[in-house]
């Protein structure tokens, strides 16, 4: 399986504290990689580095064998989308509007595109709302006219997942997308991830619920103490004593 996303020798130090020692990780074409690890292992830091929200101390991020650099917006336009562990949503926008913001990655790619959208905005509504609605329905997010500040935590997470998916990314990284989400939402997100896999996209899925991650991932990567402790097919990882010892703490 060819690598879609590759993290090469990623390291991150905060002053004297080492968050990531050395991470080499790949996500293949049409592959779902489950990234697991205890609290503070460095999973979110790694996602922050890949998305450009944090600068690494060393190493490089490659998308389709090309190094991606710069701010998160640039990386989003290159094809990397993500959600946050704590949903980052505008509480005054509706759920539909929050999701639609992800369309900026394809429709506002350059200042010229921004000006075109701006000029058109006063005359006609060119936003593909039907597409946004269809995507939301597919992940179980309904009643889209609700203002985000009034909805449940689970729906906020789903809106953020929707915003990441509507970007039609090459690689999507979901940072703990399931806590607070009801069964219908979980099933919807999992179905959307399977669709992405079928389309040859890559998925990096972080969640503490190993059951859910294992139910969909093609491969697991366990991060412990700032480095990859074990990686491989799901069944092999789950059966491994290293996995049990370093993640669950049971030998």
């Amino acid at each position: 399986m060819s690598a879609l996303l590759r993290c090469a020798d990623i390291g991150k130090n905060y002053g004297g504290v080492t968050a990531l020692k050395r991470i080499d990780l790949t996500v293949g074409v049409g592959e779902i990689v489950g990234l697991v690890g205890a609290n503070g292992a460095g999973k979110s830091t790694l996602i922050d580095i890949i998305s450009g929200n944090t600068e690494p101390s060393r190493g490089a991020v490659m998308l389709r064998d090309r190094e991606v650099k710069g701010r998160p917006a640039r990386r989003a336009r290159a094809g990397i989308s993500r959600t946050f562990q704590h949903p980052q949503i505008s509480e005054v926008l509706t759920l539909r509007e929050n999701v639609a913001c992800g369309l900026a990655s394809t429709r506002m790619r350059s200042p010229l595109h921004v000006l075109r959208e701006l000029a058109l905005s006063a005359l006609i509504d060119t936003t593909p709302w039907a597409e946004v609605d269809r995507l939301c329905e597919s992940i179980g997010l309904t009643d889209l006219d609700r203002v985000a500040g009034t909805v449940s935590f689970g729906d906020l997470r789903l809106a953020e997942v929707g915003r990441a998916l509507v970007q039609q990314p090459d690689v999507v990284m979901l940072d703990e997308p399931f806590p607070g989400v009801d069964d219908e939402g979980v099933m919807g997100v999992l179905a959307a991830l399977r669709t992405l896999r079928g389309q040859g996209k890559g998925v990096l899925l972080v969640d503490h619920n190993v059951d859910i991650v294992a139910s969909i991932a093609d491969r697991l990567v366990l991060i412990a103490d700032g480095e990859v402790a074990i990686e491989g097919p799901v069944d092999e990882c789950l059966a491994s004593s290293v996995f049990r010892e370093r993640y669950i703490g049971v030998a």
């Binding site: 450009g52 929200n53 998160p72 917006a73 989003a76 989308s81 946050f84 980052q88 949503i89 505008s90 509480e91 005054v92 926008l93 539909r96 509007e97 929050n98 639609a100 913001c101 992800g102 369309l103 900026a104 990655s105 394809t106 429709r107 506002m108 200042p111 921004v114 000006l115 959208e117 701006l118 058109l120 905005s121 006063a122 005359l123 509504d125 060119t126 936003t127 039907a130 609605d133 939301c136 329905e137 179980g140 309904t142 889209l144 915003r163 990441a164 970007q167 069964d183 219908e184 979980v186 099933m187 999992l190 190993v210 059951d211 859910i212 294992a214 139910s215 049990r244 669950i248 049971v250």
Partner: protein, 343 residues
């Protein structure tokens, strides 16, 4: 240890109801204000010459407040240099009319371009500032601009005595007298407010609003946050400059004192009074300002004090502004109608 993979339950899954789509809520207010403006113009403004002056004041404050609406109330960027942008429009008219052979109508885009450039430069210089510091720096910029235009003597800006001798605008053989200018001003206010209400709901508008709530979220959505910030600042400044253009054309002279920084603080309150949930709130706020100003003259009270007291009362008692009251009333009426339907 056994790890059991438990798929989520599927028995409770239902196909969600198809969304009704996104309703266009911009048309109803636009029609309402179109009717209101036509009634205001033909039923009141044309009745007395003095009313034309009040209507022009309304136009100027509406455009100033609408200019502030996008960067401040949608984007959360406080820019207090709007007196400078207003002056850019007015001085473009006066300087082009008196010192160049350029057609006067071109003062409108030139004033807007000058104001937008000033906002862009200020936006770039202050790109790392937020909140209190940004407010102070932009206030300083507005003050500096005012000092400059009022102290250059007989130079470019005419100093404190300003510039007179601005001829009537002649466009396609039509001379724009006071009545025509007020009509054009009201049309401009209507067009700008309508366009902003559409912008607010469009993708660039949503981008500005998401960036205000969470820059990381805007960034990972692919929104060019710096560009969108600068565009909204430039857009607001260009809109603000239109107010200066209309006042200069109406009065046929300009005075530096009309562009003192104090005017910004007055305009700053207008969207809050009307309600910030829509750009029409800025227009309502400007209307309220003109009404209270006139009402205070009738009751022979100190005008600013009456306006200040009324503003304070609205801000405390009606945090959603006057539009918020209408929205609450409408919502209550709808829920009552639904209850009656059920019965």
């Amino acid at each position: 240890m056994t790890i059991t993979v438990t798929p989520a339950r599927t028995d409770r899954m239902e196909v969600p109801p198809r969304s009704r789509g996104r309703r266009d809520t911009t048309l109803l207010p636009a029609v309402f204000f179109l009717v209101a403006f036509v009634a205001l113009y033909f039923g009141w403004a044309l009745a007395e010459s003095y009313h034309l002056d009040i209507a022009m004041t309304f136009t100027m404050f509406s455009l100033l407040a609408l200019g502030m609406y996008t960067p401040l109330f949608l984007g959360g960027q406080i820019d207090l240099a709007y007196n400078a942008y207003l002056a850019a429009g007015a001085y473009a008219v006066a300087i082009i009319a008196n010192r160049t052979d350029i057609p006067l109508v071109l003062a409108i885009p030139i004033g807007a371009a000058v104001a937008a450039t000033m906002a862009l430069v200020l936006g770039l210089v202050t790109s790392h500032l937020t909140g209190f510091h940004l407010a102070l720096v932009t206030l300083l910029a507005g003050t500096a601009a005012y000092r400059w235009i009022s102290s250059t003597g007989a130079g470019l800006t005419g100093g404190a005595s300003g510039i007179g001798g601005i001829p009537r605008l002649d466009l396609l053989g039509i001379e724009f007298g006071r009545e025509q200018l007020v009509a054009a001003g009201l049309i401009a206010v209507w067009l700008v407010a309508f366009a902003l209400s559409r912008f607010r709901r469009s993708l660039p508008g949503l981008a500005v609003r998401l960036n205000r709530a969470s820059t990381p979220a805007a960034e990972v959505s692919g929104i060019p946050t710096t560009s969108i910030r600068l565009v909204s600042l430039a857009m607001g400044a260009a809109i603000g400059s239109l107010g200066g253009v209309f006042v200069a054309l109406m009065n046929q002279f300009i005075l530096a004192d009309s562009y003192a920084p104090e005017i910004v603080f007055l305009a700053l309150f207008l969207p809050l009074l009307g309600g910030i949930s829509t750009p029409w709130g800025a227009v309502i706020g400007a209307g309220l300002l003109c009404f209270l100003n006139e009402a205070s003259a009738f009751i022979e009270g100190p005008g600013p004090l009456v306006f200040g007291g009324a503003s304070l009362a609205i801000l405390i008692l009606l945090p959603g502004g006057l539009i918020g009251v209408v929205a609450l009333g409408w919502s209550a009426a709808r829920s009552r109608m639904r209850k009656e339907d059920k019965l």
